[in-house]
């Protein structure tokens, strides 16, 4: 039924409406896209330096604040050199 069910227990990248980018293991969800993520890390993008990774732990994110949930290809993700990526943070969602 739920489109997100196959993503459960997989590593996902979530883009939130305020532009934050959080990576973690998807553990649970409901029909309004509220999600539970375990072992979250936020990737803070900035123009002046590489990506900063901040440990967050367990997160429950209300569905309203979620823009995109991406299934992370772990093999590709491990080869990314985050320190060399210098781009501005994602813009927040504007209605």
């Amino acid at each position: 039924m739920s489109q997100l069910q196959p993503y459960v227990n997989q590593r996902v990248a979530v883009i939130m409406n305020d532009g934050r980018f959080v990576v973690g293991m998807l553990r649970g969800l409901d029909q309004t896209t509220n999600i539970i993520m375990q072992g979250c890390t936020e990737r803070v993008f900035s123009e002046s330096e590489g990506v900063e990774v901040v440990d967050l732990g367990l997160y429950l994110i209300r569905g309203d604040n979620i823009a995109v949930i991406g299934l992370v290809d772990v093999d590709v993700d491990d080869t990314l050199d985050l320190a060399s990526i210098c781009v501005p943070a994602l813009p927040p969602v504007k209605y």
């Binding site: 993503y7 896209t33 992370v72 590709v76 927040p92």
Partner: protein
């Protein structure tokens, strides 16, 4: 071939109308987007990100699941480099860019008219 495509589209629209989901405003678009499953589209989000991919599924909130995605401006938005499949919440979608060849505008217009008719009226005279 064209005939077969039309019948398939029409089938989906009737199928969705017959289903038990009551939110009739979103209903036509839901059934329309169901006809786009398997097609290449570009979804433009309200955070100015544009993601191109193949539609895998759509639900009644118009949440869209895409596979084999590519961000339209990867230089500026390298955030999704390790993401091949994604789920986009319907509430953040600004536009969905479709291939004109996959849309039967006459049929869509007809379906929109039918949906605008009072509920008590029969679907077809």
């Amino acid at each position: 071939m064209k005939e077969a495509q039309q019948q398939k589209t029409e089938y989906y629209i009737h199928d969705a109308l017959a289903s038990d989901i009551q939110d009739s405003d979103a209903m036509l678009f839901y059934s329309f987007f169901k006809t786009q499953v398997g097609q290449q589209v570009t979804v433009e989000l309200k955070n100015d990100l544009a993601i191109q991919g193949v539609v895998e599924s759509v639900d009644q909130f118009l949440n869209i699941k895409l596979r084999d995605i590519r961000v339209v401006d990867p230089e500026r938005y390298p955030h999704m480099l390790s993401v091949k499949n994604c789920f986009i919440r319907g509430s953040v979608v600004r536009y969905v860019q479709l291939s004109p060849a996959t849309v039967d505008t006459a049929l869509l217009q007809d379906a929109a008219r039918r949906e605008a008719q009072p509920v008590a009226a029969p679907a077809r005279a």
